[in-house]
Each structure stands twice: as structure tokens, then as C-alpha cells.
Amino acid sequence: MEKEELRKELKVSAIENGTVIDHIPSRSVFQVIKILNLSEYQNQLLIATNLDSNKMGKKGIIKVSNKFFKSDDINKIALVAPSATLIIIKNFQVTEKRNVEIPDYVEKIVKCFNPNCITNNEDILSKFTVIDKKELKLRCHYCEKITAKDNISFRE
């Protein structure tokens, strides 16, 4: 990211310590909030969407104060926003920047698309192996059916 662009973002409101999730497609901002369970978050949380972006047209940003996500958590974002980048802020300084990666395993958050799957009929955590990261195909650990990009939905 260019310095100029970064300054523009910080202008929205800088955070002292925490994580900035940038380059989220605007339509996915609220899904990211859901996946990371941020609606319950008690610290400062800044959400912006439909911002102009040179790269993406419109984008969203989420800034989470005093929160440093575990990589497992953050990789879940890749399921809905593979373009997202993470910026770790300490003392108003960017200390780390990286892209999100689709994880090898996905637990809890995704709903198996097979209505006859046991995970949709009993109180059971869903578990998937990611068998194709490019096309985003997840194989259910239980029913063995493939949930693909177009029919991914998230559990309540």
C-alpha cells in the first residue's frame, strides 16, 4: 500500500493498537463482521464501507482496536473476502501487513449445503477440509459432500 493511501485511511480514524482489515469487497463487510463475531465486540470498532478504491472500485475497511486475531480466525475471512489485507497497528505504527490465506480446515462457521447432513439436523459443529483453494471447494467431514463457493453460507 502506498503511503498516501495509508494516510487517507488513517484519516478515517486512526487506532492506537489493533488490526485493520482492508480491501474487503463492500458486499462482504457484514459477513466479515459476522465471521469474526465482532457484533459482540466491546472495544472501539470502526466500520467503513463503499469507500473509493483504486484497486477495487468500492471497498470496505474494519478497524478493530486492541485485537490481534489468531491466524486461524483471520484466515476465515478469506472464505468471503480473499482480497482482504491485514494491517497490524502498534502505537499508531504499521508493524505488519499481509494477505489472508484460505485455511486447510474450516470449522464451525460454514454451514454444510447438504440439507440432509447430520450437522444441519443435530447440534453438531461443522467441519470441512478445503480440497480446492482456487475454486473454493470444501468437503464436509461428516456427509462428505462438497460445498462450493456459490453455495457457501454461514451458520448463525
Partner: protein
């Protein structure tokens, strides 16, 4: 295999499959042996399947085991809304192994994670039915003298038929050449075909049954179900194209055998039944020996 659950056919290795077939052969010769007298087998049938349940219970009883369980969910606590987890946890206190059939896919995998005893999947919805696959393998080996390098034809619904998918996967360890005969709407899913290719094996796809008959050692017939077609006219068009009649077998190899997971509807005409190449009724009997082999191996009374 001691204490190992069998949920999907791939939970067991090629060598373990072969060992089960060898053990089944021993049990076929000596079906009654009281080697499981100290064991309790639970058969939990959350949906009824008399054929499969009786086959398991016959296997267990012939080996001297005690059998407990239920034959359909309405006669059990499940009806009162008990969770699968609670049912399995409770039952695993009373038995040494669980055989279960359940209408939901993935139920057996979940049960195997919760239970303190090993679980044999006797069918989880449209997903897996590994004991059917093993009895199919046993039938093929018994009639052909080997499982290696055979030409095997699968006929009918290759898209939704779980028995076909599992058997194809298992046979990929035995250098099989696959002949796949189905209407275009019901072709074998690409995931299964990729598996065949990964093993460097060959498959041929056809829409016509007759041309394949002279080439193969095994004809594995399946039922084409009307509900698989969105347009009933499409079903009417294909249903008669995949019916096996006795006259079609004139050109078949002398060693050909016809298999079918049963129940049959009309995809094999009854005039085939008296042909010595028809093996589907004997095939079902082999299930008892396979289930004896599995119970004995998983309970650890044989190696």
C-alpha cells in the same frame, strides 16, 4: 483393525479390505463359531432396513454374540427427541460394538467420534454403506478367482448410486478397467472419475448396454429411479434402455457374472434369474460372511 470404526470404505486400507475378504472366506466354510460369546453387539437402526439388520444380526448370532438394539427409531428414545450424541453415549455403555443405520448423511462419522466403542456404518442416508461394498468385492473375487485386472461394467444410475461410488473407489486399488454405462443425465460424478485417473486406470463411458456385454467379467446393474429426473418424459426414454434381458447375454464371456445390490425393480428381467451367470441372490448371502469377518476383526478375536 481392532477397535477401528468402519464408516467409509476408505477408512480401511487395501490390505485390510483383502484381509476382511479372506476372513469372510473362512466364515463361509465355517459359519458357526462361538468366538464372540463374551461380546454384546448393538444394532441401532434409526430407519428400518430389515435386510441389512437381519444380515448383521445373523452374523453376530452365528458367532455367539448377544444382540441388543432397535429396528426403527419410533420404538426408541429417539422419538422422544433425544439427541444422537446422547443415544450413542448411552448405548456405548451397554455394548462392545455399534452397528448403525441412520437416514442422515454423516451420522455414522459423528457417532464414531462420540462412541466409546467402534462403530460400523450400515448406511448413512445417501452417503456410505461400506459393508455392501465389501460384500460386492467378495462376490467379485469369489466368482472370478481374483480381484485383479478385471473388466467391470457399472450400469444404470452412476450419478446418485452410493454403492457404485464406493465400489469404484475400492476397486481402484485392484487395477480394474471400468466400463460405465448410463444415460447422459446419470453419469459417474467427476470426483470419482478423477480418482480413477489418479490411480492411472482406464474408464470407458457408454450409453448403450449391449455393446459392452462381450467385453466384461462383471456386470454391476443398478436401479434408475424416476425421481432423479426433473422431466418424467426423460425417465420414460431411458428406463427401458438399461434393462438386462437374458437374450442379451448370448455374446457374454463364459466367466461373466451379474451383480445387483437389490432390491431389483425391472432392470433385470426375471428370465435372467435362471441363467447361471446371475449372481445377485447369492451376492446378498455373502453379506453375512463379510459382517462376521468385520465383527470378529474389529472386536479383535482374529487378526
Amino acid at each position: 483393525m481392532k477397535n477401528k470404526s468402519l464408516v467409509s470404505i476408505n477408512d480401511f486400507t487395501r490390505d485390510e479390505h483383502v484381509r476382511i475378504l479372506e476372513l469372510a472366506n473362512i466364515f463361509e466354510k465355517h459359519p458357526t463359531q462361538r468366538i464372540l460369546e463374551d461380546f454384546v453387539v448393538a444394532t441401532l437402526f434409526f430407519e428400518p432396513s430389515t435386510r441389512t439388520r437381519l444380515s448383521f444380526e445373523s452374523a453376530a448370532t452365528r458367532l455367539g454374540a448377544q444382540v441388543i438394539g432397535f429396528s426403527d427409531a419410533s420404538s426408541s428414545s429417539v422419538q422422544k427427541g433425544e439427541s444422537l450424541r446422547d443415544t450413542i453415549l448411552t448405548v456405548s455403555n451397554y455394548c462392545d460394538i455399534i452397528v448403525m443405520r441412520h437416514p442422515k448423511e454423516g451420522s455414522a462419522r459423528f457417532a464414531s467420534e462420540v462412541a466409546k466403542v467402534p462403530v460400523i456404518n450400515a448406511g448413512d442416508g445417501a452417503n456410505q454403506h461400506p459393508t455392501q461394498t465389501l460384500l460386492d468385492m467378495y462376490s467379485i473375487r469369489k466368482t472370478q478367482g481374483t480381484l485383479d485386472k478385471l473388466n467391470i461394467a457399472f450400469v444404470g444410475d452412476l450419478k446418485y448410486g452410493r454403492t457404485v461410488h464406493s465400489l469404484v473407489m475400492a476397486l481402484c486399488n485392484f487395477n480394474t478397467t471400468f466400463h460405465l454405462i448410463s444415460p447422459l443425465e446419470l453419469k459417474l460424478p467427476s470426483a470419482v472419475k478423477i480418482h480413477i485417473k489418479e490411480k492411472n486406470l482406464t474408464y470407458h463411458q457408454y450409453t448403450d448396454l449391449q455393446e459392452v456385454i462381450p467385453k466384461v467379467d462383471i456386470l454391476y446393474m443398478t436401479r434408475i429411479q424416476k425421481e432423479r429426473f426433473s422431466d418424467p418424459l426423460d425417465y420414460e426414454k431411458v428406463k427401458s434402455a438399461y434393462v438386462l434381458r437374458n437374450s442379451m447375454l448370448d455374446v457374454s464371456k463364459p466367466n461373466l457374472k451379474i451383480l445387483h445390490p437389490l432390491p431389483r425393480v425391472n432392470e433385470i428381467t426375471t428370465d435372467v434369474d435362471d441363467n447361471p451367470k446371475a449372481y445377485y441372490f447369492t451376492q446378498a448371502l455373502n453379506g453375512v460372511f463379510i459382517r462376521q469377518a468385520l465383527l470378529a476383526a474389529i472386536l479383535g478375536v482374529v487378526d
